[in-house]
């Protein structure tokens, strides 16, 4: 009886997992490791080795690292300020950062395109003020800017949440034991928010590494990120095998960066206990 109920409760999730996670994953692995005739091959993986694709992968890594770093540096102080504020004001400001997330991401990136264009809104305003114009559209700078703008809330929220969870008396205890503000932050507050920081980094880095929308709108057609390369394999070239092979490589990169992050998380944990 109990077993039956358990099956009844778990069943839908098992079906979901099979249909939308496991089967697609295996399909990708299958396409990635076979050629058009269905025979096993490493060639799709090795396709990543071309200079053009390596360049795209490297640029993706650099840009998403930069975007993640900027998001972290911008989000942490803001989350700290939000945590220090009282009641209604906090809710208001948090919602200001969340509401854009409810809007279509494509639309927001399109808006940046309009803003940054050679004769776009920003340059018109700069022109009126007789200031030097900004020509960053279709450059990696614009892509990084788009990433930072698009993913910043994903960094703020987990950090803000983990700051919120800290009992104010824990911070008071650090002061009470003689720590100044700087020591209190680095020895108590920051280590306690590390899980939030790690999940913020993950939530910014992974979508930034795989994006193709931001790069195609803000990078023009000249700058290719690895996301664009994979997209083209499916939509333009029509070679599912190579596309799958390339995305497997990207997945490996993401898994490696996750593992590195986990490692640092643990190392940082041990580090702080050794302080």
């Amino acid at each position: 009886m109990r077993k039956l109920r358990k099956l009844w409760l778990d069943g839908p999730y098992l079906v979901w997992m099979a249909a939308f996670i496991i089967i697609p994953l295996f399909t990708i692995v299958y396409y990635g490791l076979t050629d058009k005739s269905g025979a096993f091959t490493w060639n799709n993986i090795l396709e990543m080795g071309t200079p053009e694709r390596m360049k795209a992968l490297l640029l993706s890594l650099i840009l998403s690292l930069i975007a993640t770093a900027f998001c972290l540096v911008m989000a942490y102080p803001l989350a700290l300020i939000l945590t220090g504020m009282k009641g209604g004001a906090t809710a208001f400001i948090v919602s200001i950062f969340i509401i854009p997330m409810w809007m279509n991401s494509l639309l927001r990136i399109l808006a940046w395109q309009t803003l940054l264009e050679r004769n776009g809104v920003i340059n018109q305003i700069l022109g009126m003020l007789h200031l030097p114009k900004l020509y960053i559209i279709n450059t990696p700078y614009a892509i990084a800017l788009g990433m930072i703008y698009d993913f910043l809330p994903f960094m703020i929220l987990p950090i803000y949440n983990s700051l919120q969870k800290i009992d104010p008396n824990v911070v008071n205890a650090a002061y009470d034991l003689g720590a100044n503000k700087f020591q209190t932050f680095w020895k108590v507050i920051f280590p306690l928010t590390l899980p939030g920081v790690i999940s913020g980094i993950t939530m910014v880095f992974v979508p930034a590494l795989t994006t193709f929308v931001i790069s195609s709108f803000l990078g023009g057609s000249k700058i290719l990120l690895i996301g664009n390369v994979i997209e083209q394999q499916f939509t333009q070239v029509g070679d599912w095998n190579v596309g799958s092979g390339l995305s497997l490589v990207l997945m490996v990169f993401i898994l490696i960066s996750m593992a590195v992050m986990q490692h640092y998380d643990k190392a940082a944990d041990e580090e702080t206990t050794k302080l």
């Binding site: 008071n172 205890a173 009470d176 034991l177 003689g178 720590a179 020895k187 306690l192 206990t273």
Partner: protein, 379 residues
């Protein structure tokens, strides 16, 4: 007793327009176990936070060892706090928690190791160095919080309802632990609680607070036996609190019955508050169906009158067995009297109820509602 260590002078503090402390004056002696006792919102925690440096008073001064520390940052003060719910650093081991203050002060590792061992021994948690706070029980976490504070050798330890989250048995054990710690360390403890039993058990001095004012300062015996006003009498222990009239010195009228008492100086025919502790009321059974002229009745009257010329006639309405004693309610003159006695009287028993003159506590009535909260000057 020893010198004044801390002097709180004319402290006033309001939050969002609500006055929490109003012209609050108190001094704390060296090596004293002082308890701030009162219901929630009475200002006791705010007083502690002002001492710790986490709040700055709107007006008034905090003098510590002759120095004005009113606006000194918490990390510069020679006192340490044991916080409500412990506030341990969950990302550190027990040893790291205890070492925190010492490492900030750049003590040598040898010194720190020695101190950790000493502190863990003091709180009976030897061998717990490498445990994490999450793996400890509430009582153990509490001990670590105390150890973390005392290794810094503060002159004063502030304790903010430290036993509030523990269960009854553990709370009682920790009360003895705290008294022992206080004696071994020889430092001043300032303790905040709303639990009157805790305060009576541990303190040298109790400060009873209500609505931002001090109601009474005294030893536990003073506070219990000689409450200065109705609030203190009601808050400390169970008591029968009734309206009375002071006919003249040493004679008080309650519900139309004149009782001998020992209090003087209240004037004549003045309304007063009267407190009689439930354990001080004595009951004398009147046999069923006897009329007032019968010898059994007269015998009971004589017994009652030996205690006090005044007595009440009443009926036992509730009895609860409490182990050590019986807790009874006696209906007399339309008032439910709480009586504690080792002798049991059946529900429905007619009784005469009397009280030793010495055990009647007379208190001045506040002249208006506002004056209920009027601050009393230091002892």
């Amino acid at each position: 007793m020893s010198n004044r260590l801390i002097d709180l002078q004319h402290i006033t503090k309001a939050f969002d327009g609500t006055v929490v402390l109003d012209d609050f004056n108190l001094y704390i002696r060296e090596n004293e176990f002082l308890t701030l006792l009162g219901p929630s919102g009475c200002g006791k925690t705010t007083t502690l936070r002002i001492l710790g440096g986490f709040e700055t008073p709107d007006q008034g001064k905090v003098i510590f060892d002759g120095q004005d520390i009113t606006s000194l940052a918490p990390n510069k003060r020679q006192l340490n706090t044991v916080f409500q719910k412990y506030a341990l650093f969950t990302h550190m081991s027990v040893a790291e928690n205890i070492a925190f203050g010492l490492r900030i002060r750049k003590k040598s590792e040898d010194y720190i190791r020695e101190k950790i061992r000493y502190a863990l021994k003091l709180v009976n948690l030897e061998g717990y160095e490498e445990r994490t706070p999450d793996s400890l029980s509430g009582g153990q976490q509490q001990r670590i919080a105390i150890a973390r504070a005392i290794v810094n050798e503060p002159k004063v330890l502030l304790l903010d309802e430290p036993l509030g989250a523990l269960d009854l048995k553990l709370r009682q054990d920790m009360q003895y632990e705290l008294i022992r710690l206080k004696n071994e360390l020889g430092i001043t403890f300032i303790y905040v609680t709303h639990d009157q039993e805790e305060a009576l058990t541990m303190s040298d001095t109790i400060v009873v607070m209500n609505q931002g004012y001090i109601q009474q300062v005294g030893t536990p015996e003073d506070i219990y036996n000689e409450p200065q006003n109705a609030f203190v009498a009601d808050f400390i222990g169970d008591s029968n609190l009734i309206d009375g009239t002071m006919i003249q010195d040493q004679l008080v009228e309650i519900f139309g019955v004149k009782f001998a008492c020992v209090d003087t100086g209240f004037g004549t025919n003045k309304p007063v508050d009267v407190v009689i502790r439930p354990e001080d009321l004595e009951l004398f059974a009147v046999p069923e169906g006897e009329d007032t002229q019968s010898s059994a009745y007269q015998e009971a009257v004589r017994s009652a009158e030996r205690l006090n010329p005044g007595y009440f006639e009443g009926t036992v309405s509730h009895v609860i067995f409490k182990g050590m004693h019986y807790e009874m309610e006696v209906m007399a003159h339309g008032f439910e009297w709480l009586v504690l006695s080792t002798r049991m009287f059946q529900v429905g028993t007619k009784v005469l109820m009397s009280v030793d003159p010495f055990n009647i506590q007379i208190m001045k009535k506040p002249e208006s509602e506002d004056e209920k909260a009027v601050g009393l000057e230091e002892m």
